[in-house]
């Protein structure tokens, strides 16, 4: 890997170099009742709009690859036949400016199922292939447990990763394109003291994690504790509202609905992200519901993320960003649920 350092003042210049493309980054969406800022990922035209010191965004960047609603195709319907027009809904490349490691890893994990396994999803792949990602380092929050999930650093899946080492940025350069961009601002090769500063920053960060998930033997434990009373208790609290899945950077379940236009000469097929917590998620013809109870659906989300996905891809589908626990009104958080299922202190 190639490393570079550059002064903080160079960052806006880098932005300007890149901003001939569509840029998406963390922006402030509003403030909560205590006046703390709330961030989201949004389109940015000016460097000043970026809030690179954000903690976590309320929603992940998932929607840029998996929109909440996406028209998969349209139909032109004639008297007795039809023509189908498929559009992957990509209009151009997008630069992501300021993703944290967990969110970069989230994309990497989604890739495994949506792009790297058999039958890649073209809608996802076409967006994913048109991403240019600039990562930035972050400050662990009380709800972050990415370190437990092995996602506190991003090893790949970005073009450039910037770590704030005080007066300058330490840059990991992973693509030629990124290198070319950097050529247009003032950079230097890192010195020994930059390396040291980088390691200090990382060590400092590691000390700050307070939330943890014990993944030891988790796939087996989830299987063993399938009937655990803990599920029932969480299920009683759960609102089955789907919020956890919607804010999650890696939940990708969806439903499809087809509608006929009012003039009856056109139709469309629309995909909407769903959640396995929704009551009719596992309903089949004849009205049989495989998971009619709240707790069984809640359990399934964990079962899929922390067991099924691990079995298939050797790692969990959860990246420990903590968004779901933060967004859940019922305070259902991954560390607590897993601890309780493991029989720890619940």
């Amino acid at each position: 890997m190639i490393f570079k350092v550059f002064g903080k003042k160079e960052l806006p210049r880098l932005f300007d170099v890149i901003a001939v493309n569509r840029v998406v980054g963390p922006v402030q969406k509003g403030t909560d009742k205590n006046g703390s800022p709330l961030h989201t990922f949004g389109e940015v035209r000016d460097f000043a709009e970026l809030s690179l010191d954000y903690k976590t965004t309320i929603l992940s960047a998932k929607r840029f690859v998996l929109p909440f609603h996406e028209t998969l195709c349209t139909f032109r319907v004639t008297e007795n036949g039809w023509e189908k027009d498929v559009d992957f809904n990509v209009r151009g490349p997008t630069v992501f400016f300021g993703l944290h490691a967990c969110d970069i890893n989230a994309f990497n994990r989604l890739d495994k199922v949506l792009m790297e396994s058999v039958y890649p999803t073209p809608y996802y792949a076409s967006k994913r292939k048109n991403m240019f990602i600039i990562g930035t380092n972050c400050e662990p929050q009380p709800y972050c447990f990415c370190r437990s999930m092995g996602t506190d650093t991003a090893l790949h899946g970005f073009d450039l990763f910037l770590t704030d080492i005080g007066d300058r940025y330490f840059a990991e350069v992973q693509s030629a394109t990124a290198y070319n961009f950097l050529l247009q601002i003032k950079t230097a090769d890192p010195k020994e003291k930059d390396h040291q500063r980088y390691m200090d920053v990382v060590a400092e960060k590691n000390k700050k994690f307070t939330a943890h998930v014990d993944n030891t033997d988790l796939t087996k434990i989830l299987d063993m504790e399938f009937q655990s009373q803990a599920w029932k208790e969480w299920g009683d609290k759960c609102l089955s509202c789907g919020t956890c899945a919607n804010v999650c950077p890696t939940c990708y379940c969806y439903g499809v609905e087809e509608t006929v236009d009012m003039n009856a000469t056109g139709a469309r097929k629309i995909k909407s992200l769903h959640s396995c917590n929704l009551i009719d998620f596992a309903e089949v013809a004849g009205g049989h519901n495989f998971r009619p109870e709240r707790h069984s659906r809640l359990k399934y989300r964990y079962y899929h993320k922390h067991r099924g996905f691990v079995e298939a891809f050797e790692e969990s589908l959860c990246v420990g960003c903590g968004r779901c626990g933060e967004a859940c009104l019922a305070d259902i958080t991954v560390p607590e649920v897993i601890a309780s299922v493991r029989g720890e202190g619940h």
Binding site: W82, T121, N130, F181, Y254, V256, C276, H288, Y300
Partner: protein, 300 residues
């Protein structure tokens, strides 16, 4: 310097080298309803042909597999192919009118254009079964996917040992493919049919399907188990009873196959609707051996 990033077209780039990759995901073959045969009050058999000759000829499937049938603007849903894989050029789907898509389909006419994606999913191991005895158990609509296997066995009758079909339905009027029973029997197939609620004309046995099954298990004795493949299709409640019973009778779990039904939107292991844990029914199933099922929570 031009800093604009190039637009990557995945159709040209590595990910989707073959057009058919996307084809299988979102490419729907245009197909025509050739014939419609009403079977019961709520089921009809649809004979469907892919319109483009080239694609039609290339289309092949195995018993147990399914297709996604799409009516533009109305919906798309999975249906097991009910015809024999040897009969090229068309597929037969036996479809029960239960709701949106199936309701609209029931009002469509011969010649109407629909869409087909597939075939998808795993198959019944008809090849592996050669040389063995075969026990086919169907409850209700379960006969639909099973029929493809039945026809395959019939067409190669000499390659199989004894063939038993146990088929149960709620009432005689709900029995499917009645016109074919004679023909099946001619091929030295032991076909037993049972209904839960008889009507005036019904002369056969009544009760749950497990009743006949118990008799057959008792009849076959030890010999039955070792050399037998079983396929079980039907509603989820049936699996537990039947598979449990057959396991007890000694049929090895890995020689017993079931076909599961889940909601499906993609058929490609992406929408998660058919997931059991992280096991996609559309990719690893719908046909599973019973051992795999035992290892899946809430599978049946």
């Amino acid at each position: 310097m031009d800093n604009r990033l190039p637009l990557v077209d995945i159709m040209e780039e590595g990910t989707h080298r073959r057009h058919d990759d996307i084809g299988s995901f979102e490419y729907t073959y245009k197909a025509e309803i050739m014939n419609i045969y009403p079977m019961t009050a709520s089921e009809k058999l649809y004979q469907i042909q892919i319109i483009e000759p080239d694609r039609r000829n290339r289309f092949s499937f195995q018993p147990g597999q399914f297709v996604m049938l799409e009516i533009p603007g109305v919906g798309e849903a999975p249906f097991s192919i009910s015809s024999s894989p040897i009969r090229h050029g068309f597929v037969e789907l036996c479809i029960r009118n239960v709701g949106n898509l199936t309701g609209f389909l029931a009002r469509m006419q011969r010649g109407a254009q629909i869409g087909i994606r597939g075939p998808f999913g795993t198959q019944f191991p008809v090849g592996e079964m050669e040389g063995s005895d075969v026990l086919l158990v169907a409850g209700g609509l379960g006969i639909v996917p099973l029929r493809s296997a039945i026809l395959t066995v019939l067409e190669n009758r000499s390659r199989y040992g004894s063939v038993d079909i146990v088929y149960g339905a709620k009432t005689p009027s709900e029995l499917l493919f009645t016109y074919q029973y004679e023909m099946w029997r001619k091929f030295d197939i032991n076909l037993s049919i049972i209904v839960e609620t008889p009507d005036d004309e019904w002369k056969g046995p009544t009760g749950f399907l497990t009743r006949i099954l118990e008799d057959r298990v008792a009849q076959a004795g030890a010999n039955f188990a070792a050399n037998t493949y079983a396929i079980v299709c039907g509603p989820p409640v049936m699996f537990k009873h039947v598979c449990g019973m057959l396991t007890k009778a000694g049929i090895p779990m890995q020689k017993m196959f079931v076909s599961l039904e889940r909601r499906m939107h993609c058929g490609r292991g992406k929408c998660c609707r058919c997931n059991i844990g992280s096991t996609y029914t559309c990719l690893k199933g719908p046909v599973f051996d019973y051992w795999s099922i035992m290892n899946l929570k809430e599978a049946i």
